[in-house]
Symmetry: C2
Subunit: 398 residues, 2 copies
């Protein structure tokens, strides 16, 4: 008996990390590996370090670690937390919680300011908490785009609050850096953490910390209890001429990074941000047209991940499973307390208009499979209208 | 005017990490990236964890970190060192020194037992040092193959000494694991650390720790001051069914690892070790035929890197530069105090007979360029004889 062809066999990745890779990024990893001390690699390494500065919008050395994004977060806690001293964590989701675990692990007197998952962190409450602290907090840890909910926090406002109280803001921009504007030096943010596998269009395995001189000095005054993640050690190597990684760098991932950053700069940061904004607007329009509520506050800047609340009458946990197993489109469901309650469509990195249209179409189809009533094409149609009105179907360079 | 063709344009990598990748390993990294929670990746991940057990010759969970090899060493110090308590480091080269830096960073009362670079660590002196310590050392840190000198330490003897004094041995086998036999469970070694980019034929960026239950318990009794490198956290995730990485795994590197470990197991561990032994014998024969002294003690088990002492009458620092820039063959020179004094030919990982013959040939040619007298083909010829006598030109599977 012949098996009918599986018309949904093509696979689409719509999660907030790992995100799809541009073909040029994938291909460069198949080239012969380079010795990390060879002129050929040093050229890639030095260029990547320069390109990172541009993408981070900073004159800082962007410190690079072979690690998951959490490794860079760990480095921030290891360098900034002084055992027994207060550190404030403003958390509204899974990745905010991670800052708490890290501050606790490094012995901080952690001041946990928790918001509901799906809320935005309120800078005024951070202000009050800092004002009421028994001793001044050295650092405030927060999240730019909370991947677990799709909510974007107001980094600029949080930074102003932190600075007013003499603290450094340390922001996890792992998923959002390169999707949503975060002009670090203009805003005067002391520490920005990012990862390779989200908006930066690379595989996971590289993690970044852009730390101001002030933050580096705080680390230097607080030595010990770290080596691999010591900021001073990595900064010293990167500042040599030519730059020299403190430990064997992940050379294959650096070649990917070099190509990916080149594509981002060829597109131009402003256009990259505008593309993400348009993709997110289309995703939001599609979700509303399907009669779903967007999860989280209205926010035209929340352009990294779009989360939709799922109807209570269907088994929400089945939505991502169906979308993946039946239609070949991988999106994320809810994590922790949000399991089964939301679906998250990511559009951070190498995404264009038809990625969002495909994801919305699969969502429509899955919802109908589970008994919900939607008019076929209503979600995809709403997204189309957004693109048509914008006069452009935005596509990344690559 | 026509440029003559550069007949030495082909590039050969003969360093002890990164080492060359088998084509199948390179190619798999160019495939579309996988979501780390997808069934397709979980299959790769679970299979890699099983294959690691076989290659480490252990029933331990081999803990995996997205990191350089030093990250896994860092995890060992972070989990095992109790601030203020003694830790013994037996060091005879650059990578032994790293254990001291790590133990110091984590606040150990480090007992540093230093040997000359180029010597083997003497288990008897370790025994004496442990016996004379004011308080018992919890752990002994040592190196299997000291990449900076090519010297192989006697892990079995060091382990017996450590166990006799109630300490765990923690061995850096980053370059040697998969090249030289280290039957962890048979010998009862508590902690073995390795990295992806040496004998395991993968790019840098994955690091491994195989820790016994006893070592894991020592870590668990010594909590805090770490998160990303916490053994318990990573072990807990890997022990879930299906296994679940505590942090986003470096999915591309895991696909490479899965393929590379498959090639190692297809060749068979015993044959892999025999191939490395034969390559090293040929390298040693070639060096001796060139009238060079081998650096380090006579040792038929030192099969990871072969170091040659360079004649004093030539400018030794030029040898690796000439070999690379003129002949396209990248080998490492000496590091630190050995700069200009030795050249190191690596043969750990994806190396066959003609890699060693090519490296020896380039070494011969470079030595003559610098004024040394050698009969053309003497080094290569000596290596050929070794292969012919063995009745085989060993080639890796891949």
């Amino acid at each position: 008996m012949n098996q009918p062809p599986d018309i949904y066999a093509k696979q689409y990745l719509m999660t907030a990390g790992p995100t799809p890779l541009p073909p040029a990024v994938s291909q460069v990893m198949a080239e012969p590996i380079l010795y990390h001390r060879s002129p050929a690699f040093i050229e890639v390494y030095a260029r990547s370090l320069e390109r990172l500065r541009t993408v981070f919008q900073t004159s800082n050395d962007v410190l690079c670690f072979a690690a998951s994004g959490t490794g860079a977060m760990d480095s921030a806690a290891a360098n900034l937390v002084v055992p027994g001293e207060p550190a404030l964590v403003a958390s509204a989701g899974k990745f905010g919680e991670r800052w708490k675990q890290l501050c606790d692990a490094y012995g901080a007197a952690t001041v946990a300011l928790d918001f509901e998952w799906g809320e935005r962190v309120d800078p005024e409450r951070v202000d009050t908490a800092l004002a009421n602290a028994e001793r001044p907090a050295r650092a405030v840890f927060a999240t730019q785009s909370e991947t677990s909910t799709g909510v974007l926090n107001d980094v600029r406002a949080l930074n102003e609050v932190a600075l007013r109280h003499g603290a450094v803001l340390c922001v996890d921009a792992i998923s959002g850096l390169g999707a949503v504007d975060l002009p670090q030096d203009d805003w005067g943010v002391d520490v920005v953490v990012a990862g390779s596998q989200k908006s930066l269009m690379c595989p996971p395995g590289l993690a970044f910390v852009s730390a101001s001189e002030r933050a580096l000095a705080m680390g230097a005054e607080n030595p010990g209890r770290r080596h691999y993640f010591d900021w001073a050690l990595t900064a010293r190597g990167q500042r040599e001429q030519p730059p020299n990684s403190a430990f064997t760098p992940a050379v294959t991932l650096f070649r990917a990074l070099d190509v990916a950053l080149g594509l981002i700069l060829a597109e131009g940061l402003e256009r990259v941000f505008a593309r993400h904004a348009l993709l997110a607007r289309a995703a939001r329009a599609g979700i509303e047209a399907l009669g779903l509520e967007r999860f989280g506050p209205e926010d035209e800047n929340a352009n990294v991940v779009t989360a939709a609340a799922l109807p209570e009458e269907i088994d929400g946990a089945q939505v991502p499973t169906l979308m993946r197993d039946t239609y070949g489109i991988t999106v994320a469901g809810g994590q922790g307390i949000l399991r089964g309650r939301i679906v998250r469509i990511a559009h951070c990195g190498y995404y264009g208009a038809f990625d969002v249209i495909s994801a919305l179409s699969a969502l429509e189809m899955a919802l109908r499979d589970l008994g919900a009533q939607t008019e076929p094409g209503s979600g995809a149609g709403a997204a189309q209208r957004v693109f048509t009105e914008a006069g452009v179907a935005p596509e990344p360079v690559g």
